[in-house]
């Protein structure tokens, strides 16, 4: 697929060449199993421990608080289910937000079917969790608070430090799904009172199929995957050495360039948002303009539907994403867009464009021109637009 303008970095990212270079020895000659006694395996073990350190460094954790998993979904499931089962005799109430990723939301819904009680705390129309609602939801039998660090659809950054302080003051375990935040914005698990944190390599130009769960040393967590003595007996399975090494390298690179990249990304993001809102009528920005990930643009266009928008920009070589139901295989549009108060028909008409440090202004300019054409074409085909014109609403 040459010449694609890739604006779907929240879905997955391109492996950085330096990351692939770091992985290559472990995809070829250094193929040992880190659990083995022999040097051939031990060498791989050392490489995994180096990666663990780079990852811990990025969030001010200790090396032995990082547990490798297969990705963000596994980490979320592990964190939430293990706390639930470990604490079930103490209480069965879990608090989460209305804008979680499916990996958290469906896990909580599963637990609700298993006899736990789940409170989904709402967000305001800017997509920021309502702290007073959160506080009011806490009960004596609340065992876990799980709130997404930065939302994957609308990019809003949550008041994690405040939530951490609340959880800590009540002695409740605090998990955050930081899959979109890790390596993108600064995180400090100590200062922010985070007990458990999920991350995934493929969102930071690392490889797919590897993630981690940060488990604060004071928290005892049961394994979700039982078996061999890997990961200090907490997560069985032969270590994905190339994946882990790549994750480590990606974390290291993210740390080194985060500040500089973000200054640039925020400029580009705001430029694109301003142009779209100005040049395309009946468009709106979803999610807070400032408390949002540097690379996230999420816009709704009235009267048109997201999947067809995506397909049309795709034909112009632009890869993006939508909160429309049609695109996800479900029938309802994104629960996140509904949570910020969008009516269904506007939620269906959203498009998410997520940038990386490789995104250029030229690409954005090209994309905006494409969007203008596509939106106009789809509106000309839309019965909703026709009605609005007829009713002189537009």
């Amino acid at each position: 697929m040459p010449n694609t303008i890739y604006l779907d970095n929240a879905a997955t990212t391109k492996l950085k060449p330096e990351v692939l270079d770091a992985m290559m020895p472990f995809l070829t000659e250094r193929y040992g199993n880190p659990s083995s006694v022999h040097k051939f395996g031990a060498d791989c073990n050392t490489a995994c421990e180096d990666a663990r350190r780079s990852i811990a460094n990025l969030i001010n954790a200790k090396d032995n608080e990082i547990y490798f998993t297969s990705g963000g979904s596994e980490s979320d499931n592990w964190a939430i289910k293990s706390v639930a089962y470990a604490k079930r005799d103490k209480g069965r109430h879990i608090i989460t937000s209305g804008i979680e990723h499916h990996a958290v939301m469906e896990t909580c819904e599963f637990l609700a079917r298993e006899g736990f009680e789940v409170t989904f705390v709402g967000v305001d129309n800017q997509g920021i969790i309502k702290l007073d609602e959160l506080k009011a939801a806490i009960r004596p039998d609340t065992i876990l608070i799980s709130v997404i660090y930065a939302n994957n659809e609308i990019g809003t950054i949550q008041p994690i430090k405040e939530i951490g302080a609340i959880a800590r003051s009540k002695g409740i375990i605090f998990h955050t799904d930081a899959v979109q935040a890790f390596g993108h914005i600064p995180i400090d698990v100590e200062k922010e009172n985070i007990n458990l944190l999920s991350a995934s390599a493929h969102k930071i130009h690392g490889p797919k199929g590897v993630g981690m769960l940060y488990i604060k040393n004071s928290v005892r967590l049961l394994p979700m995957i039982h078996g061999g003595p890997h990961e200090r007996k907490r997560r069985a399975g032969t270590l994905n050495v190339p994946g882990i090494v790549g994750f480590g390298k990606a974390a290291e690179l993210a740390k080194a360039s985060m500040e500089k990249n973000n200054a640039e990304l925020i400029k580009l993001r705001n430029y694109a948002i301003d142009r779209i809102l100005k040049e395309i009528p009946y468009s709106r920005l979803n999610g807070d303009r400032d408390r949002r990930l540097p690379g996230n643009i999420n816009i709704s266009f009235r009267f048109i539907e997201g999947e067809s928008m995506l397909m049309m920009v795709d034909m112009k070589g632009i890869a993006a994403s939508t909160g429309s139901a049609c695109a996800s295989g479900s029938l309802d549009p994104s629960h996140v867009l509904l949570a910020i108060g969008l009516p269904h028909e506007i939620a269906h008409g959203s498009i998410r464009m997520t940038m990386s440090e490789f995104t250029t202004k030229e690409e954005l300019d090209h994309t905006i021109e494409a969007l203008k054409e596509v939106v106009a074409k789809l509106r000309s085909m839309s019965p909703l637009y026709e009605d609005a014109v007829r009713n002189k609403e537009v």
């Binding site: 539907e305 999947e307 049609c326 029938l331 269904h344 028909e345 085909m381």
Partner: protein, 149 residues
């Protein structure tokens, strides 16, 4: 989820997009809540032949492609022929649809029938085998239609 080449063709170059002024019949089905609305305009002559047909659709790729194909399939046909259009025939003509998109072809069938019903009503005739569409809507702003199917 992957679309057939035919679907992609009808999505990329939809046939019969537009409106018909003073149409013989207009039908609108679906609702914005669920993300699909189809509107079909018919121009029918005195011999009950569909001389022209146009559509407008708010919806996904499959919604656009099924609308386009449905209009192609009934254009130039007698209304009795048009009545025989089923979602199956639309899907077959498109070389199939992903499972989660089958409802779009149902919508296309319903849109045609809704437009024919409107034609029958306007003309004050009864067409055999045609019933009043259950969810024919005319403004697309039914936020209270309940669950999507």
């Amino acid at each position: 989820m992957q679309y057939s080449a035919k679907v992609m063709d009808h999505f990329t170059n939809p046939r019969n997009v537009g409106e018909i002024e003073d149409a013989s019949g207009v039908g609108t089905v679906g609702n914005a809540k669920c993300g699909d609305i189809m509107r079909i305009y018919l121009d029918i002559d005195d011999d009950d032949i569909i001389r022209d047909v146009k559509f407008k659709t708010f919806g996904c790729g499959a919604a656009v492609a099924t609308s386009s194909m449905a209009t192609e399939l009934i254009k130039g046909k007698h209304v009795n022929e048009a009545l025989k259009l089923t979602n199956r025939s639309v899907m077959d003509a498109l070389d199939g649809l992903p499972a989660i998109k089958v409802h779009c072809s149902v919508l296309a069938e319903e849109a045609v029938r809704a437009a024919l019903w409107d034609y029958a009503e306007k003309k004050g005739i009864k067409i055999d085998g045609l019933e009043k569409p259950a969810d024919d809507i005319h403004d697309g702003h039914h936020e209270d239609l309940g669950e999507c199917d």
